[in-house]
């Protein structure tokens, strides 16, 4: 059974960011290895690039480009959340939280003295 919080869109956004990041990190060594073939085995690189013309490989590459793009856009979302100025509504909520806490604590103090 899927626990309720895991059907929340933001949990899915988190999962997508984590899985795409993990996938990209695991793909990178293979990517670097293939490119480095240009250094001493150029014919092997060409052989691989011909293999990459295969439609199935193209679909896999579509998946990799999707992972990269979704990680960048998800990352932009996180950066905006963390670094852009707060909206007036968010500021109102934050100020309300402090105000409500002061009210509750003040009520407690009035009863205590």
């Amino acid at each position: 059974m899927i626990r309720p919080h895991r059907s929340h869109p933001l949990w899915i956004a988190y999962l997508l960011h984590r899985l795409s990041g993990l996938g990209l990190a695991l793909f990178l060594p293979a990517h670097f290895y293939m490119l480095a073939l240009a250094l001493d085995q150029p014919d092997k690189l060409d052989q691989f690039l011909r293999f990459a013309d295969n439609p199935l490989v193209k679909i896999a590459e579509f998946g990799l480009v999707f992972l990269l793009a979704v990680h960048v856009f998800g990352g932009l979302r996180l950066l905006a959340l963390e670094f852009l100025p707060w909206s007036p509504r968010q500021k109102t909520f934050a100020a309300s939280a402090v105000g409500a806490a002061f009210l509750v604590a003040g009520t407690f103090l009035l009863q205590a003295v």
């Binding site: 984590r18 990041g21 993990l22 990209l24 990190a25 990178l28 060594p29 990517h31 670097f32 290895y33 490119l35 480095a36 073939l37 240009a38 250094l39 150029p42 690189l45 060409d46 690039l49 990459a52 013309d53 590459e61 480009v65 990269l68 793009a69 960048v72 990352g75 932009l76 996180l78 950066l79 963390e82 670094f83």
Partner: protein
């Protein structure tokens, strides 16, 4: 398990990579037309200072970003911590840096 420095390094490397990644995606979409060949790729990148700087920066930033990201995942899902976690992060980062620089030199040095 991220101190302020690693947290900031993760954000800064992300900010550096946003234009680089969008550029990389644009190049991929442009270059993949009519298939890829080693001659085509190397013809574009070999001896180019612009691509050397572009991908050099990309490799350094991604080695930082991926090793810090893997550190978070390994800590949160596998429970690795302390010294083992530090060693894991540094090994992952240095491996990516070494392999990335080798690839960079392979495609950009004339």
């Amino acid at each position: 398990m991220l101190g302020l420095r690693l947290y900031m390094a993760q954000r800064l490397s992300a900010m550096v990579m946003i234009p680089l990644t969008l550029g990389h995606i644009a190049v991929m979409i442009y270059a993949v037309q009519d298939g890829l060949s080693a001659a085509e790729i190397l013809g574009r990148t070999k001896g180019s200072v612009v691509w050397f700087v572009f991908y050099g920066l990309f490799v350094v930033a991604v080695a930082m970003h991926a090793s810090i990201g893997l550190r978070v995942i390994v800590h949160e899902t596998l429970g690795l911590k302390g010294r083992a976690l530090e060693i894991f992060m540094w090994l992952a980062g240095l491996l990516l840096l070494a392999m990335g620089l080798r690839a960079l030199f392979a495609v950009t040095l004339p």
